[in-house]
Subunit: 435 residues, 2 copies
């Protein structure tokens, strides 16, 4: 029989143990951070009826969706994010107590252009609050974002939560007296400021027919970036300079003030260039960038979306949430050396030294495992050098050597494979000596 | 705008928090058990090239696969199990150290007939050893199965690991001198003994043209079920009565003897009726049934498959593994009352009693969360009864009440919502009093 070429599908990845151990640990840290805020776990299916998902992400989103007919000729699609499935769940189960705070950590699928270094399957870690329009809910989401990054080992000085609000953006552009087309073009141009720069935005604005004056005020607006906690007076000044946005700005300042009580050492910056691509946001929006790895863009973002659940329910359900792109954050943390390398979950290996002692090896393995020491037993009684080299390559810390002499004395030779040290330990003390 | 009907795709399920909290805890227990044996985590994509998956599960399997053309016109399919992706990975990454012990806990997708109560998305928890043909590897898999069920709270008396071997089955049928067609029909009939009973098998055997004598010896063979650890002499007798299977039976007895050193209190039973449907098994095979919930069938099964990786590699790679059907096991454990109900991850709720004290509430929430107490803050200063009823409904243990009086005294009123007891605790002692 001819063999089948073993290959991963284009745009998809395998996570071998040396990566997956660390990813797993990151997921556990994120989960603990979300649960500290009382977010409950939810799991929704990978596949949904296509009509649930389509039309929510814009034309681009619909095009990137994995959509197909199932065996029963149903029009189905792989989930594109975790927000729409949440909206469906909130509408579907009327007896869910609100506010409903839930998190979900799951893969999503998008047929992205892989030439841009993007992948077609990636994990999102979402926390959302459905059923509250309180500023406290917005504040909790911002604090959650900051505290989760702290829990992952990122120092407060190394990240910035950049906050804006759709209401501020709307009020500002309304005050400019532009046509709807010009307004949309301007918002789109400003949203690209991180990619095309200030001059690029200026060019686009002029190209779309805006007057020099209008383009200038839009650029000045987008340039606004104020440390909301430490420069409160600056924030007040902006409000005075732009009376049209005074009211929504005060709402945002209140949210940030509350968030900074919950996350005292985080930096929250009001940044009017933040727009978030997705149409469904209605209030506060935010992005989070790493000071030392800005090239990864926003690793954690979200905002308020008060109209989304209403697409499935007969009544509006206000909601606000945050989403971590796990794999992007993982890549950034690897670059910042904040991901400690760990190649194995095993702490000890029992060297297979003498086949006649197999029952002792098995009993030792069993005892260590019960005591919480993750233990490997080498299966074949081959050359001990080969076994130790296997253990070293795998990154296992301790090798346990036990032959006829040790069996007589009731001891086990413990070799530390990192330092090369070795010592004899009584069998009964062995588990404790490895913990 | 008309609303979209919020519904879950047929054959798929949402796991709301009261279920997902428990599922999550089960997954963590299984993971810890697998890691104790030194199995490393692996994650493979949900989608694979269809040619990787097809032809491995028989015609039935191919029919149940979610297979479609992606946007790049690639022939792709959702993974049907976790074993074939492992085989691909082992063949694809030549530098993986062998024996490679890996686990993966992930959903798989099969377009099953939902009328049989089956679901189309379900989790498998697989642990496999690739690259060893040692009996110790088989023994570890059997012991892992037993120890994992123990870790999940199932007592040794409440489950049986039923073990057989494809080599025993082959040797037995070879000794009967049947045609290949008759042999296949007989194996298929015996495999259904749990479903159609002894008489049903007998009828099928006669219908397929077997002599009464042959049918009788097949039934006697399939009836063989011996406690391999406690009835060793019985096992020897069987070997003497059926000389054709003596050799593979001795191999199996050796595996079980080793497994029982690793898992001393487990019951391993040699049961010749176990066949396992999948074609790819080559050696030891096993199923695990719960004594008090036999209707769930096997909740944990597996075996040795020495030819599968070879379909992707240029050389054979022996392998052996175990797989838990998480959702079936979850349902069985629920029935056995071994799943403690937990509706929330939150331990405390801060009652929003007086809006002027919001900053204190935020500071208290922050302090409790840092101290490891999962805490909810009620967002609106509504009637306290409504807040307490929300907390009770969600299953939260402690309500923290803090108004002007408490603010003066530096104390917090702690109300136990299960017992109704309440007491005043100094703010600084509050976290400790809730742990």
């Amino acid at each position: 029989m001819s063999t089948i070429d073993p290959k991963t599908l284009k745009g998809f990845r395998d996570f071998l143990p040396d990566q997956q151990i660390t990813r797993q640990r990151m997921i556990e840290t994120i989960r603990a951070s979300y649960e500290a805020f009382g977010f409950e776990p939810l799991e929704t299916p990978a596949l949904e009826y296509a009509e649930i998902l389509t039309g929510k992400y814009g034309d681009e989103g619909d095009k990137l969706m994995y959509r197909f007919k199932d065996n029963g000729d149903r029009d189905v699609a792989l989930r594109y994010d975790l927000t729409i499935p949440l909206a469906r769940v909130v509408a579907q189960y009327g007896d869910i107590k609100k506010p409903f705070k839930r998190y979900q950590i799951s893969p999503v699928w998008r047929a992205e252009n892989t030439q841009k270094g993007r992948f077609r399957e990636f994990y999102q870690c979402d926390a959302d609050i459905a059923g509250s329009s309180s500023a406290l809910a917005d504040a909790e989401i911002l604090a959650l974002a900051a505290n989760t990054l702290r829990a992952l080992g990122i120092r407060p000085a190394d990240f910035v939560v950049r906050v804006n609000s759709r209401e501020i953006i709307a009020a500002f552009y309304d005050s400019l007296d532009l046509s709807d087309t010009a307004k949309t073009a301007a918002i789109r141009a400003v949203d690209k400021i991180d990619k095309i720069g200030r001059q690029g935005v200026s060019d686009e604005l002029r190209k779309s027919g805006l007057s020099g004056e209008a383009a200038e005020s839009i650029l000045a607006f987008a340039d606004t970036s104020i440390d909301a906690v430490n420069d409160e007076s600056e924030l007040a000044k902006i409000g005075e300079a732009l009376p049209s946005i005074q009211k929504p700005l005060a709402v945002l300042a209140d949210i940030i003030e509350k968030a900074s009580v919950l996350a005292p050492d985080a930096r929250f910056v009001v940044d009017f260039s933040i727009a978030r691509g997705l149409d469904y946001y209605t209030g506060m929006i935010f992005e989070t960038t790493l000071a030392s790895a800005p090239q990864y863009g926003s690793v954690l973002s979200g905002g308020r979306y008060d109209n989304l659940v209403g697409m499935f329910a007969n009544k509006p359900v206000p909601a606000v949430g945050a989403s971590i792109g796990l794999d992007r954050l993982f890549a950034a943390l690897e670059e910042l050396k904040l991901v400690p390398a760990q190649k194995t979950v095993a702490r000890a290996i029992i060297v297979n030294f003498d086949e006649s002692l197999t029952d002792d090896y098995l009993a030792l393995a069993s005892e260590l495992r019960v005591a919480g020491v993750n233990t490997i037993l080498y299966f074949d009684a081959v050359d001990i050098k080969k076994q130790l080299s296997y253990a070293s390559d795998r990154g296992i810390r301790y090798a346990l050597i036990y032959g006829a002499n040790e069996a007589k004395s009731g001891k086990v030779m413990v070799k530390n494979l990192e330092t090369g040290d070795q010592r004899e330990v009584l069998w009964k003390d062995i588990a404790q000596s490895l913990v």
